[in-house]
Symmetry: C2
Subunit: 367 residues, 2 copies
């Protein structure tokens, strides 16, 4: 009998706290860490809600793409500013967003911009419980440098960013393996440093002695020449030529790399994973370590020469397709591959998934 | 008699062409080279007029800061877009601008953003007749790299960008002099590469054999901690400490520099010139080459030890204070200094002045 009395009470308490979780927003909002210098808004609270404040006194409607379905509709305050808070807590990590002001798409003047969706978008950062691994700390820092490499196939000087580890300049004798790391559709060669903090992830892993230092090269994957809905029409050939025939030789000639297949990895997120998948299968003599981050899977029967592949790493967010990723890796293992899966908890197709994936991948490379 | 007939006709023709120059806009507009990928607007014509097109169908007013007094007021077209053309031709070179949409300040979604006015602003490039010297060409390219250097005085890891010349990585024995190059008020350490094309100016000068290669270091001058109207209250001490006691030793330890006074220069534009002026006078044992770009002048009696100063370079745009610059340099010469003035024709307090100034300055350094 006692149980029967308690059960409805427990249910009532649970339901009550569920309701309050939906409606009670903690008033501890702080400016986003990705705000432009001196800007108070947008703000983020400890629950992951985001509050916006936009000056546009004569506007009729201001909405923000972040939030639940349809985004967040801001309302006009007495001082002429437009304010509003997302109706849901956002996932931890980085999110792109933009404003619609009277029907026009603009960025939030308070936030820094990041290249995604084939344009520079506003960005916001929801502090993550595990953000320590990508924070800027008082440790020796590697450098991220812009290189302009000649490309005969496209008739251009093309840009790439190269991460060199902290001791690169001090010990002029040491040579390093190289990871070629690709962004996703709508992004470019700036994404892995700006949104991904690839350099800080590496600095921290190296400082903690968790990895042997390596170089990372990030270039534009030419992914945005094709419309998002027509990605299957994407022709890998032009980018494969730029990467394999032009960039890799330039990097090997310009940096102290170990210019061998077993010291070369390729990884990519989302459409960069699709590129990685195709190029590694086409060029098994070039890359020994293959990684797809929210970017599809490998099937064992696609791979011609098993002995060439030192590692296959496949990851995604728990809100994507974790079962598909895990099953693919199990199948690869059964077929005799050194395959590793990783699922980022409580994240979707977004940068915290990929930061965590790089953090998991790096210690497995160049063993 | 003949003369008397011709004179009014000549006057009439001159007046006529003056009027037509004011009103006749050549319809050869092309997308600005600083547009975001795939964006058709803003556009620039061969005369330097700029045409804007902004989507904001429900807006009531859209204005642009570029143009004559009060900027350019856009008008609504039938398709709901807002369009307009500047009422004046803009100076050649780079200009910052932004939109005001219904009273709110936003960037042009068509244009790339550049850090100026203590925010990321839209930027536009008016092709210059002499732009060849800062164009991206098929020549060997140096790299621009982000370094994060430890700063005890501010308790932070601080960012700088370092330009290393094309052969830096190939010939591991060569050491290089260093130019410390400062941005202006409202800008940051990204300005000299993004807006100034300092790296391309160097690449081209080196390719043409016009200079001996050197390294350039660009860091944040902490100039924006003070409001624009109160620049005289600026305290140089914190930045001088970061630059002289923290950054220079870090650069000398991390790069193959020639770590001597005679192989070290400091230059700055606008408020960066003010910083250069103060720091070089305070620290004559650190820098031998001093340059102010639209950033004030030196007086001979400010300089304690003439023998320490290898070069004083002072420049500005012809629409600034060329007479003051020239007079200052004449006075310095009379006082026995190796002083050089440069006036950029038909430019004001803007980046084409400073790109040209760097182009003039570089061959004079480290002789």
């Amino acid at each position: 009998m006692k149980k029967n009395i308690i059960a409805p009470i427990v249910l009532l308490i649970l339901f009550g706290s569920f309701c309050s979780a939906q409606t009670s927003i903690t008033e501890d909002f702080k400016p986003s860490t990705l705000n432009q210098p001196g800007k108070d808004y947008p703000q983020v609270n400890s629950q992951g809600y985001v509050r916006f404040r936009i000056e546009a006194p004569l506007a009729q409607t201001v909405t923000v793409t972040l939030g639940g379905k349809g985004g967040t509709k801001l309302t006009k305050a007495e001082d002429g500013s437009w304010t509003g808070t997302t109706d849901i807590a956002m996932d931890e990590g980085f999110h792109y967003y933009h404003l619609t002001v009277d029907g026009g798409v603009f960025n939030d003047p308070g936030a820094l911009n990041f290249y995604g969706s084939v344009r520079w978008e506003s960005g916001i950062e929801i502090p993550a419980h595990d953000q320590d691994f990508y924070e800027l700390k008082n440790v020796p820092h590697g450098n991220v440098q812009q290189i302009l490499f000649p490309s005969k196939s496209t008739g251009t000087s093309r840009r790439a960013f190269v991460y060199t580890p902290p001791n690169y300049y001090k010990d002029q004798s040491e040579r390093y393996p190289v990871l070629y790391l690709q962004h996703g559709w709508g992004e470019d060669e700036t994404a892995w440093s700006n949104q991904g903090h690839a350099n800080l992830i590496m600095d921290n892993l190296i400082a903690e002695g968790k990895i042997k230092p390596f170089i990372i090269v990030m270039t534009y994957g030419m992914t945005n020449e094709v419309k998002f809905g027509k990605i299957k029409e994407f022709d890998i050939t032009p980018f494969q030529t730029v990467l394999v025939d032009e960039l890799i030789p330039y990097v090997d000639a310009s940096f102290r790399t170990i210019a061998t297949q077993t010291s070369r990895a390729m990884a990519g997120l989302s459409m960069g994973g699709m590129e990685t998948h195709t190029i590694t299968l086409n060029k098994p003599d070039v890359f020994a370590y293959w990684a797809l981050l929210s970017g599809g899977i490998y099937k064992a029967d696609e791979i011609k020469d098993k002995s060439k592949v030192k590692l296959i790493f496949i990851s995604c967010g728990s809100r994507e397709n974790p079962d598909g990723v895990k099953k693919s890796v199990e199948d690869l293992k059964s077929a005799g591959f050194n395959a590793v899966s990783y699922v980022s908890e409580n994240t979707a197709h977004e940068f915290l998934t990929w930061r965590r994936s790089l953090y998991q991948l790096a210690p497995l490379l160049f063993k």
